[in-house]
C-alpha cells in the first residue's frame, strides 16, 4: 500500500503522453499482488460549436485547492475500495484535440474493485476539482467549457 497521507501534485504541463502512461503501467509490474488495472483517459474532443471547431483546451486550475481535493478523493477511494494503488494526473495549460488531459489509474487484486474505483474517482474529479477548461476555436476565439 502506498503512502496516502502526502499531498501530491497531480498536474502535468500540457498533454499526458502515451509514453507517460506506458511508463506508469511499467512501474506496476513489480507489484505482483495486482490482478487488474483500470485506466481512464480523458481526451480533448474537436467539438463543433456554432460552426467553429475546438482546436484545444487551455486548462487552468486553483492548483493548491485542486491538489487538496485530489488528495481527499484519494483518501476516500482507499477507504471505499480495496486497492493496491491509484494515481491521478491532470493536464494544465494547452491540450490539443486528440490529446489526453486526464489519466486515472486504479489497481486492485480483482478486476471489479479496480473498475468500481476508477469510475468513482473520475466522477469525483469532474464534480469536485476546481479545474477550468477554455475551449479554443479558430486560434483566438474561445468559450469556457462546462462539464455535463
Amino acid at each position: 500500500m502506498e503512502n496516502k497521507s502526502k499531498i501530491k501534485n497531480v498536474f502535468i504541463q500540457g498533454p499526458i503522453t502515451p509514453a507517460y502512461i506506458a511508463d506508469s503501467i511499467a512501474h506496476h509490474q513489480v507489484k505482483t499482488n495486482i490482478g487488474g488495472h483500470d485506466l481512464f483517459l480523458g481526451q480533448v474532443r474537436a467539438d463543433q460549436i456554432g460552426g467553429k471547431v475546438v482546436e484545444a483546451i487551455d486548462y487552468s486550475a486553483y492548483e493548491e485547492m485542486a491538489n487538496q481535493v485530489f488528495h481527499e478523493i484519494r483518501e476516500k477511494t482507499f477507504e471505499k475500495f480495496d486497492l493496491v494503488c491509484m494515481h491521478i494526473y491532470h493536464s494544465i495549460g494547452i491540450v490539443k484535440a486528440g490529446e489526453i488531459c486526464l489519466f486515472v489509474f486504479t489497481s486492485s487484486k480483482h478486476r471489479a474493485m479496480a473498475m468500481d474505483a476508477c469510475r468513482y474517482v473520475v466522477e469525483e474529479i469532474k464534480a469536485k476539482a476546481p479545474v477550468f477548461g477554455k475551449e479554443i476555436m479558430n486560434g483566438d476565439q474561445y468559450q469556457w467549457k462546462v462539464n455535463q
Binding site: S60, A61, E64, L102, I125, F132, G133
Partner: protein
C-alpha cells in the same frame, strides 16, 4: 482587516485580474463579499460561482476572518 481574493476561469474575463487584496472594516459573511463583488463587477450578476475559503468550499453564511484567501470559482470543467 485584509482579505485576499482569487479569480478563476470565466470570472477572470470579468475582473480582468487573477487576484487582488481588499481592505474590509469588519468581519464579513461571504454573502456580503458577494454583494461587494457585484457592486465592483456588475457583470458577475450573470455568472454562477462558488466561494472557497482557505481551499475549502463554504456557504454564503460563512464569516470571513483576517487574512483569509477567498477564491471565486465558476463551474468546474476538469477531465
Amino acid at each position: 482587516m485584509k482579505i485576499q481574493l482569487k479569480y478563476f476561469g470565466k470570472i477572470v474575463d470579468i475582473t480582468g485580474v487573477n487576484e487582488e487584496e481588499w481592505q474590509c472594516t469588519t468581519p464579513k459573511t461571504l454573502q456580503e463579499i458577494k454583494e461587494d463583488l457585484t457592486t465592483k463587477y456588475p457583470a458577475l450578476q450573470q455568472e454562477v460561482y462558488k466561494f472557497a475559503v482557505n481551499l475549502s468550499l463554504e456557504n454564503l453564511d460563512y464569516v470571513v476572518k483576517e487574512s483569509c484567501e477567498i477564491a471565486v470559482l465558476p463551474p468546474f470543467s476538469g477531465g
